[in-house]
């Protein structure tokens, strides 16, 4: 049993070690340019370039998705906890589980056929919509566990003072659970920035020009790694090592930051 666990640990560590060993030279070669430049041409001799357009596409689409998904999820989780003994609560939980079970490649196909075909092109908006469909069930689960751990006495006190449902949500539920809510938002943001399959057909393959308009195609860091990994040019494969390390660092920083919050003392 010890041998099996050592083999498993070795495999998991070696994967991360190789990522640092092969990605760090590319990062050191480029410096800060990796955050704002365009990727290298296939005819270059060295992988000097940057992730600029893809990083912008990632951040804008993930940010939009988080904005929309968090509003919907907070309201739905609050209603599901408030009306716990009515049928609406179990219906919402079932819907959230059903949405969570949709394969992400299918989400991409659906958004492509409903939005991209009618608009005539792929766009950041379609990518943000695909990420919203992926993010809502994750956030619903987190927020439901946070809101159900708030003691009933505080909410009853709020209602007895004459606050409406929206005010109780804003001042009491979010006030007590703000650490958990913030840490869940950061953790889910990190996870949806790393999603590849929902973006494959919806956001396009525009790696070399900056797109700030929501109706223009762009790309994400994950689609860039996916496209360059299977490329026949050595420069692009070397550059993909650097892009993987950048994505890894962003994900680790956000994940560790989401664990550093301090709970409110009740």
């Amino acid at each position: 049993m010890l041998i099996l666990s050592i083999i498993a640990l070795l495999l998991m560590f070696s994967v991360q070690l190789v990522l640092w060993l092969k990605g760090l030279p590319v990062l050191l070669l480029n410096g800060l340019r990796i955050l704002y430049d365009i990727p290298p041409l296939p005819s270059s001799s060295q992988p000097i370039g940057g992730l600029g357009p893809s990083l912008i596409g990632s951040l804008i689409s993930a940010g939009l998705a988080m904005l929309f998904a968090s509003i919907v999820s907070i309201l739905l989780a609050y209603v599901s906890v408030e009306l716990q003994h009515k049928r609406i609560s179990s219906v919402l939980k079932l819907t959230s589980t059903a949405l969570y079970g949709i394969p992400t490649i299918t989400v991409s196909m659906i958004v492509y056929s409903t939005i991209c075909l009618h608009m005539g092109r792929q766009s950041i908006l379609a990518g943000a919509l695909a990420l919203t469909i992926v993010a809502i069930p994750m956030e619903f689960t987190y927020f439901e566990s946070i809101f159900s751990s708030i003691p009933l006495t505080y909410k009853e006190a709020g209602y007895s003072m004459g606050l409406s449902r929206g005010q109780v949500l804003k001042k009491i539920a979010l006030g007590i659970g703000k650490a958990g809510v913030v840490s869940s938002l950061v953790a889910v943001f990190a996870r949806i920035m790393g999603e590849t399959a929902p973006m494959l057909f919806t956001i396009g393959n525009n790696f070399s020009s900056f797109a700030f308009n929501l109706f223009e195609p762009s790309s994400t860091v994950t689609t860039l790694i996916f496209a360059y990994a299977a490329s026949p040019y050595k420069v692009q494969v070397d550059f993909a090592w650097g892009a993987s390390l950048v994505l890894y660092i962003i994900y680790i920083v956000f994940s560790l930051a989401s664990k550093l919050v301090k709970e409110v003392e009740l």
């Binding site: 739905l76 659906i110 990994a229």
Partner: protein, 303 residues
């Protein structure tokens, strides 16, 4: 009953509920509509073993079989990697090192799978082929499982190793959660009867048997729908063989490679929607089974 007027808050709540229902209904409608079109266009040839887009034959039997075989093999590797590691973390490691290992498992559980896919195709496939798969074929080639020559590292064996590395932290998380729910009374009683530590570990494992199986079912549903790792590492040839070292194709890899060409090949998109519907039904069944097992296990944990 006291009637109250609808407020702004109620309007937002109703809009959110409508949004989530619209998303679900849209998914169902698009999948079912296009699958019906696929059955109208291709008919029974959807279950053919040939995929020939030039003649309009979109046979999904081989990708479906590849999906199921890849899931079973990588589930085997996930089980033999995650259960010993979960026991190691929970029983034999203490203090700060244990917290480091737990944080490492938590953080790796959600790591973008495209990173694992890229490391698999650029690094692991070459070294696995040189040091593991070629010796397996040379020395154990008489067994049908290793009887084909691994020409490149992109085959079923490499894909299942990479998939198990990607899914092990998630499974360890679920097993660890089940471990922490065992009531302490049983453990104290076992130690007071004079059992050794290894025997107590076996006792604990037998108590969380159903929870382990349900975690493996959740991981199976994630492996089934995994796209990036399979399309880069698993080869992608329309082969079916009993050999672990041959390339394989699965439904998500098929969708990624062939989607969007409906103006050239008539009916290809509809066949891919049909395959996505089958994938959705199988993964939903695995999720529901895992959930039922988990709730039954939780109810049976009575002190």
């Amino acid at each position: 009953m006291i009637k109250r007027n609808l407020s702004v808050f109620d309007f937002f709540v109703l809009a959110s509920i409508l949004t989530i229902f619209v998303f679900l209904a849209l998914t169902g409608y698009v999948l079912i509509y296009h699958s019906a079109e696929a059955i109208k266009i291709s008919g029974i040839s959807l279950f053919n073993v040939k995929w020939d887009q030039y003649r309009g034959i979109y046979g999904l039997a081989i990708p479906l079989l590849g999906s199921l075989v890849l899931t079973m093999v990588s589930l085997f590797f996930v089980a033999i990697f995650s259960i010993p590691l979960a026991i190691l973390t929970n029983e034999y490691v203490r203090g700060r090192f244990r917290r480091v290992m737990e944080t490492f498992a938590d953080v790796s559980a959600g790591l973008p799978t495209v990173i694992y896919a890229f490391i698999g195709v650029a690094f692991l496939s070459n070294y696995l082929r040189k040091f593991v798969e070629s010796p397996l074929h040379n020395f154990l080639g008489f067994i049908p499982l290793f009887s084909c020559t691994p020409f490149s590292g992109a085959n079923l064996f490499t894909a299942s190793i990479v998939l198990s590395i990607a899914m092990t932290p998630f499974t360890i998380l679920l097993i660890r959660e089940a471990y922490s729910m065992i009531p302490k009374i049983y453990i104290d009683a076992a130690y007071s009867l004079g059992l050794f530590k290894e025997e107590v570990i076996f006792l604990k494992l037998s108590m969380i048997k159903k929870a382990i199986i349900s975690s493996l079912l959740f991981s199976a549903s994630r492996v089934l729908t995994e796209t990036t790792i399979v399309s880069l590492v698993a080869g992608g040839q329309f082969l079916v063989s009993s050999c672990l070292l041959s390339p394989v194709i699965t439904i998500p890899a098929l969708i990624v490679n062939n989607f969007g060409y409906s103006n050239i090949y008539y009916g290809i998109d509809e066949a891919l929607y049909f395959s996505a519907l089958i994938l959705f039904l199988i993964s939903m069944t695995l999720n529901i089974l895992g959930f039922i097992l988990y709730s039954r296990w939780k109810k049976s944990l009575v002190v």
